[in-house]
Amino acid sequence: MTRTGRLDEPWSSSDFVADPGKAVRLLLENESRASPAVPPDWTEKLRGIQSIIDRALSGLDPQELLVALVERVRDALQADTAAVLLLDRQSGQLVATAASGLEEEVQQGVRIQIGRGFAGRIAAEGRPVILNEVDHTKVVNPILLTKGIRSLMGAPLLADGAVIGVLHVGTLSPRTFTNTDVDLLQLAADRAAMAVQALTANLDRAAASALQRSLLPAALPFVKDMQMAARYVPGSGNVGGDWYDVLILPSGELCAVIGDVAGSGLRAAAIMGRIRSALRAYALETSDPADILTRLGHNMHYFEPDVLVTVLCAVFSPCLDRVRISSAGHMPPVLARPGEPAGPVSMVSDLLIGVPAERGRHGTAIGFPPGAMLCLYTDGLVERRDRPIDDGIARLSAVLTPSDPETVCACVMAAMADWSPHSDDVALLIVRRDPTPGSEPDAASVGSTA
């Protein structure tokens, strides 16, 4: 879960996100049935607005939806201007997003602080506001002044009780807005809020998924006498913050990384991208995994103190006979060596990154003979509600039979999915040294196919 919360999970009902158009229609029908006193022309106007939303949800982006919506709202309320401003959570400002009769607002990128001006007041109070006579000494938006707006009416866009934007209409001649006008505007604002949230959630998911794909290695590097395979499966349709990376260091050493950023969606994927870049930069400076993670910890503590992440870093010596591993709060990798039962590496697990600590980080060196296999994974692979996590690790160890990593990856994913249906996302990276002792690889034989 991320602290930002709302944007990541805009609706409690997954059905709504799956088919927002249907949910909005159902709501509309329920409301019409429940309110027999609604004037007939009013229902007609609302249907006009609804038709825009229906069309928009079939493929438009939120921007196009809102442009169509403000035009319809302006017509329905016989106003001269209509505008939607959406809340930018980062800055706490309302940003003009769509306007009709007031296009300058959008073109000039008007931003209004919550609590200031007309729109800012609606956002701060979370309820509709009417100004039948605009007091020009109190208007903060110069565009409203230049236009000569005389009367204003606005309503908040609410999602789960929180303001996500403001919809307002204005007239160039004085007008007394009625309660029916306010009700219609608030209903239009409610519809807009639902559609914006649903579309934003869809875009967030699509963007997170695209970002995640772009950050995972397109192809694992080619290293002589070494075989590798990896898997990533998003949890319950949602992309999380799991990732892996494999890189060849200037020293000729092979560095394998796996990690898990707290949270999910676009924010977690973006943080994961920054961590991946930082790790790559530090791996150019040092090949000591504990040192790499110490530097990453300093970086995060300074620049992103609110981020929590577990990372495991394994560096294989140039002749592949030894691997040094350091863990920042991550699950221990499972090691399978010829002639020994597979099991988790016995090592110190240092504190995850994001919690200040006085203790230094540790590295553990282990022998990696020909045929040895190291399995790096995230917790989603082994956790199960009713069993100790060690049972999951034991289960994983039991299915790690020395074979080519692609086959082993497939076996592991099948066996573990069978044991525990994944709700969290899962990353898996398997590295195996060729079983037949080959010639000692030299630096020139190590290269990347990427």
Partner: protein, 116 residues
Amino acid sequence: MTAAEFDVRWTGRHAVVTMPAEIDLTNSSSVDSVLSTVAGQHPEVITADMTGTLFCDSSGIHALARAHKLVTSDGGELRLAIGASLARRVLEFTGLDQVLPIYADVRQSLAAPPGP
């Protein structure tokens, strides 16, 4: 479960918060919010009672880590009463057991004086 449904008991400046039987993506934000609400009341110690917690995934671990940072930044202390909880191993893997004082039960945590 919402933050308001958590059992929070105060003994002087020591708050004991009962954790759910399972902490996962569906309720970790509630755990987050109840712990930060309690932390906002400037306790000397918060004990998260996990003796009845059977499962804690990474989102639960992250909620505990955030609460620890919040409480310590205010000069307080977050403790865990953990008993034989299955969540113990996850705390060891994440290294949180190195910074969070762990007690067998709430009674022992209440009996221990505050401070490092």
